[in-house]
Symmetry: C2
Subunit: 321 residues, 2 copies
């Protein structure tokens, strides 16, 4: 079996490879070739950690396994380690034997960025010029960097609850040669694409902050109670997601569904758009919203991709297991 | 992090170490220091495989992780590999980082054998002389070998649905210098201790096959629908288990509970007997029954033990992960 340590991922994995892997597995989910297992998520009562497993199987890509790990909130302060810690384990679906073990920290950031990029490719207007960022933390830089490759954006606008963090995304814009401007939330009306990537428990982006024709990718809500955008926005928008069951229970759609504003059947799989069985955007006035909840299959897909790269370049550690 | 490949386990792990690890973690479960996570078990629709994850956390032993793997029914015939395939992954509960990866196949056999042995130590009569085996497959040899170390047994009696498999356990008895006799099921009345280790879906051992004072370890039932002993036997017996929730849902107690013959509160944790908070056996006439359903914490406990041994002997493969 192969081992790809965390420290090797940055040198191996590209945004393009992550994009391809995530796009393909979203398509496989929508065609019924891939499915996620029930998620295990436990507050273990030690170091305030949340720990668990996200598994799945992709019959098309023959990818089987899980991401294990979670959130250790004291890591950075106590030990100088990042707080999100995860590892991906791949198994041979023909035999059940362990096939690969892959550092999952950077991969998680890349697959999350790839998900909003896939949604931009398939749902944003072709002539989108202004991208708005809500959130300016570490993960926001990944989302923006990936998004800037999907359209020839001419301007980045950004808002963050703590404005002193905005230089994080301003720097990414500068690297891409795109001007940046800090705005207030109503200022988001200028954006053609909006990515929200916060861990908020109350909406920042209101329905009237969004202009017709905008595509919004809500990437921060992955837990019951979290919320980034006003529930009414999901009524105005056509709503797409990675996995419908997660979207309506722990994703951004949980609130609109709970309030009876939309129904489960109003939420479509992004994979259906990729596969061409859902038309996706059909007009320049339509608001589209992607609810990215994060599924185990995304992790497995990018991990399988990086194992292939590591083996090809002789970087994977082979162990006779 | 450390890797202990499957092929090293046989040279490292002893029955004694497995016994100690399982006894300790059963005790920790009963004292509330250790708990198992929800089990994920999926028929993945490929190679007729069952795949899943059994995780848990032991705050006392600081053991966190999971066993991943399952049952690939075509492995042996198609590929010469064993059908049960599993791998144990341990994590550092202080940081969430991967700590060890351990071959889980032999460990699973050893921890299952250790569980019935722990039950014999704590629940069988001190003067037990005759041990009865129901089942004579591969796993039965592990159960018998471990059981023979718990009491000075003078005779092994055995029954199997296919009598041609009985030489498997006869050989183990011979190695221990104990005479063996094949019996019919009513002949089990001679036994002071009975271990049943089958994958049957209908009871073999009936209540009137069991004499007063006997200890029975039911080790085969781990799924809804499986059954090794008549439900009435659980009324006559004091019932103990590794984990009550599993015992009454997927273990041997599922049938007696479903039929209203016993209640959840009639099933006690074996760990409480180990800890001394449950008296266990209180008379020589009492029938005791251990419902061994198999929990993830057992796997983690034996894996942690074998990692310690492998590191101490310089056999663990260290990887800078």
């Amino acid at each position: 079996m192969y081992i790809v340590p965390e420290k090797e991922i940055a040198g191996l994995m590209t945004r393009e490879a992550a994009f391809d892997a995530v796009e393909k597995v979203f398509a496989a989910m929508a065609s019924g070739d891939a499915y996620n297992f029930p998620v295990v998520r436990e507050a273990i009562g030690h170091e305030d950690a949340l720990y668990g497993f996200k598994g799945g199987f992709d019959r098309a890509g023959l990818t089987l396994g899980l991401k294990a790990g979670g959130y250790w909130p004291n890591n950075l302060e106590k030990r100088g380690l990042i707080n999100h810690q995860s590892t991906v384990f791949l198994f041979d679906p023909d035999t059940g034997r362990a096939k690969a073990m892959v550092g999952g920290n950077l991969l998680t950031a890349l697959r999350t960025a790839a998900a909003s990029s896939v949604s931009i490719k398939h749902l944003a207007r072709k002539d989108a010029k202004v991208i708005g960022m809500i959130g300016a933390g570490h993960q926001a830089t990944f989302q923006l960097r990936a998004a800037l490759e999907q359209r020839p954006f001419e301007k980045v606008i950004g808002w963050n609850y703590h404005p002193d963090m905005l230089p994080n995304i301003e720097k990414v814009a500068a690297e891409a040669g795109v001007p940046f401007e800090a705005v207030d939330l109503p200022g988001m009306a200028e954006a053609d694409v909006i990515i929200s990537i916060t861990s908020a428990f109350a909406p920042s982006l209101m329905a009237d902050h969004v202009s017709p024709g905008t595509h919004i990718a809500c990437m921060g809500t992955d837990t019951k109670g979290k919320q980034e955008v006003e529930a009414e926005l999901l009524v105005k928008a056509d709503v797409f997601t990675d996995e419908v069951a997660q979207s309506i229970s722990i994703g951004e759609a949980q609130h609109a569904v709970a309030q009876g504003l939309i129904q489960e059947t109003d939420v479509a799989q992004i994979g259906a758009v990729i596969n061409g069985t859902n038309p996706g955007r059909t007009s320049d006035d339509q608001i589209t919203l992607f609810d990215g909840t994060g599924v185990g299959l995304q992790d497995l897909a990018v991990a399988a991709s990086v194992v292939d790269l590591a083996v090809a370049r002789g970087i994977a550690i082979e162990v006779d297991f």
